[in-house]
């Protein structure tokens, strides 16, 4: 089996997912995972697709773009290496980091810099500026020997100069308050980068 990561962007229109998924089906591809969003009118989709035999990434991208010509798709395809990737943060635990405050150039760069310096791996990130307000929510894996307080202090230090407040909380508190399933403690069930496993 050969696995490819496919990304498609275009101006948002009805029928893009239908077109892309149809092309992949006709090519014999099985979609393993998919994430799609519309950001300020721009459609973006990322898929992990498995094929029974190897494909040439550029050819696959061209077929998808041609089938969706009326949408003017921008397509990129890369091959995933067959060996499983090592998690960037072995034995890390999933935390939710929230940063709220004033919008400013370089906010995300500064926040990401604090995290990178401490070996924190971001696995999911949403941020937006709404007028002068900035909000960012991310899921990130903290190394087991890194106290959440340390990263919070780092972010707060950055936030003080930029009008931002930062919160670092283990994801279990959000599971506990949002879902009726039994409360549990300990590490997250989901693996790093795995966005579809049940919470």
């Amino acid at each position: 089996m050969s696995t490819y990561i496919v990304t498609v962007t275009a101006a948002d229109r009805v029928g893009i997912v239908y077109s892309v998924a149809g092309t992949l089906r006709d090519q014999g591809g099985n979609i393993l995972e998919l994430s799609q969003t519309v950001m300020r009118g721009c459609f973006t989709i990322i898929l992990a697709v498995e094929f029974p035999s190897p494909r040439v990434p550029q050819d696959l991208a061209r077929v998808i773009a041609e089938r969706g010509k009326r949408f003017d798709l921008t397509v990129a395809v890369i091959e995933m290496k067959p060996e499983p990737l090592e998690p960037p943060v072995p034995n890390g635990e999933r935390f939710i980091l929230t940063v709220l405050g004033a919008d400013g150039i370089g906010n995300i760069h500064g926040i990401a810099g604090c995290l990178a310096a401490h070996g924190v791996n971001i696995v999911d990130l949403h941020a937006r500026a709404d007028g002068t307000r900035f909000s960012l929510i991310m899921e990130a894996f903290l190394p087991p020997d890194l106290a959440p307080g340390t990263i919070r202090e780092e972010l707060e230090r950055f936030g003080r100069d930029h009008g931002l407040e930062a919160y670092v909380q283990h994801e279990n508190i959000f599971l506990a308050t949002s879902e009726p399933s039994p409360v549990r403690v300990g590490p997250a069930w989901k693996t790093q980068g795995d966005a579809v496993a049940p919470h």
Binding site: I137, E139, Q169, H170, I173, F174, T177, S178, V183, V185
Partner: protein, 458 residues
């Protein structure tokens, strides 16, 4: 990815509406410490507290950091000392209290409960000695909290004990005159006392509990008030009380779940059993952290006006329902506290004359505790204080519920004067007691009010 709305809703409860874990209370069985030699008894108590609670502070700080939610207090609840120290003299009980005070400071807890006697059906020599020592214990120790259970639905009401406790309150208040009788704030007199209550001053580690257990008290009146106000802001038509009750329920669910998560995490890290989570809307003097403000958000603008009791009943019941759905480990008191001096809106209602002692007593019939943190005139006679206790205990005993009394006769001050307890204990205008002294003969009868009938309940 977690839904942005869920993340922001939970975060908003903590950062804007003062949701916190009010207390992580470790219950410890002290029965194995009993010894005829006082030195041995105190040494065993110290050793056992250090064994179980030595890491409590550090673990709470770790868990606080992990989840980003404040754990405001760490406390210890102990087996009723009246039986642990049975056979010792009054001086022995005092020495035990001093030991508890010192070890509590050593392990970093702000209060230790369990200087307790359970006397609903009668009292032992140990119970009597403990009660005799209360004024000195409450006035000379800083962290020791006391409670006495004087009635249960099964046993009736011990009026001899209640008569003695009226005198205890007078003496304790006098010994702490320079603090407006604050010593009385550390004594709770119960009917149907729960054995797993994590909230002070009435927490103790009851019979039937394990060697060591972690119980959690979560609060969050600000969260409930904000939820009701938010619901009203977005409603297109006038809300029904059923809709308000549903909103309180779902908010109570979220708050209770936070408590259970923290409790289980602390217990796991300490290697002890998790007990219960008690969601009690416990106010603090801060604006926005008030049960009274919830009633106002529901439309009872003047607390104490007709309708206050019904609103409180709705609130208390919805909190219990939400908590019960959230967790199978709900216990303690679980409901709404109407602790007057600790609740800025209730204290204000007293000040403007809307909230009276009689109305408060009626409200306690439907809330989770009783006459709590109420300052009364310092010249109130002991028998009247006993009668006040008896009334409140009767409400609990007849209605199969917990009630409690924490009243403070403020020495040298009269109705309308201001009593100031400071910190989380707040302040309030002293409430008058109408017809004080008019029931002394009743309480002087002593004896026991028999247990009530459990059938024909109309």
């Amino acid at each position: 990815m977690h839904r942005t709305e869920d993340v922001l809703a939970t975060l908003g409860m903590i950062r804007q509406h003062k949701l916190d874990v009010r207390t992580v209370t470790m219950g410890i069985d002290l029965q194995p410490c009993a010894a005829p030699d006082l030195t041995v008894l105190c040494a065993r108590i110290r050793e056992r507290l250090l064994q179980y609670a030595g890491r409590l502070r550090a673990v709470c700080l770790e868990v606080e950091g992990r989840y980003g939610i404040p754990i405001v207090n760490r406390r210890i609840a102990l087996s009723p000392i009246a039986s642990v120290a049975a056979g010792h003299s009054a001086e022995g009980y005092l020495e035990v209290a001093r030991t508890l005070d010192a070890v509590a400071a050593e392990v970093g807890v702000d209060l230790v409960g369990g200087f307790t006697a359970l006397v609903q059906k009668g009292w032992t020599d140990g119970d009597r000695r403990l009660i005799e020592t209360l004024p000195e214990v409450l006035s000379t120790t800083r962290r020791v909290c006391a409670s006495v259970n004087v009635g249960t639905t099964a046993a009736g009401i011990n009026m001899d004990a209640i008569l003695a406790l009226g005198q205890v309150l007078k003496e304790t208040a006098e010994r702490t005159r320079d603090q407006d009788g604050f010593g009385c704030a550390k004594l709770v007199i119960f009917a149907n006392a729960p054995t797993d209550n994590p909230f002070m001053a009435g927490a103790f580690h009851g019979v039937g509990e394990p060697d060591c257990v972690i119980n959690i008290g979560v609060s969050g009146p600000g969260v409930v008030k904000a939820a009701i106000e938010d619901l009203q802001t977005h409603a297109t038509t006038r809300l029904t009380l059923g809709e308000i009750a549903e909103e309180i329920k779902s908010t109570a669910f979220r708050v209770t779940r936070v408590g259970e998560l923290i409790g289980r995490e602390v217990a796991t890290r300490l290697g002890v059993q998790f007990g219960i989570v008690d969601l009690s809307l416990a106010p603090t003097p801060q604006v926005g952290d008030s049960v009274g403000e919830i009633l106002q958000a529901m439309g009872v603008v003047r607390i104490g006006a007709p309708g206050s009791t019904a609103a409180l009943a709705l609130l208390n019941d919805a909190v219990k329902k939400g908590g019960s759905f959230a967790s199978s480990s709900v216990g303690g008191l679980s409901g709404a506290f109407v602790a007057v001096s600790e609740d800025s809106a209730l204290a204000k209602a007293v000040e403007v004359g809307d909230l009276t002692l009689a109305k408060l007593e009626a409200m306690t019939a439907v809330c989770s505790v009783g006459l709590d943190m109420i300052a009364v005139p310092g010249d109130t006679d002991a028998e009247t204080l006993s009668a006040l206790i008896a009334d409140e205990v009767a409400i609990g005993v007849i209605n199969h519920k917990t009630t409690a009394v924490r009243v403070i006769p403020v020495p040298g001050k009269a109705a309308g004067d201001r009593a100031v307890f400071g910190g989380l204990f707040g302040e309030m205008q002293i409430l008058p007691i109408h017809a004080a002294g008019g029931s002394a003969d009743f309480v002087r009868h002593g004896g026991r009010i028999p247990a009530p009938l459990s059938s024909l309940r109309n």
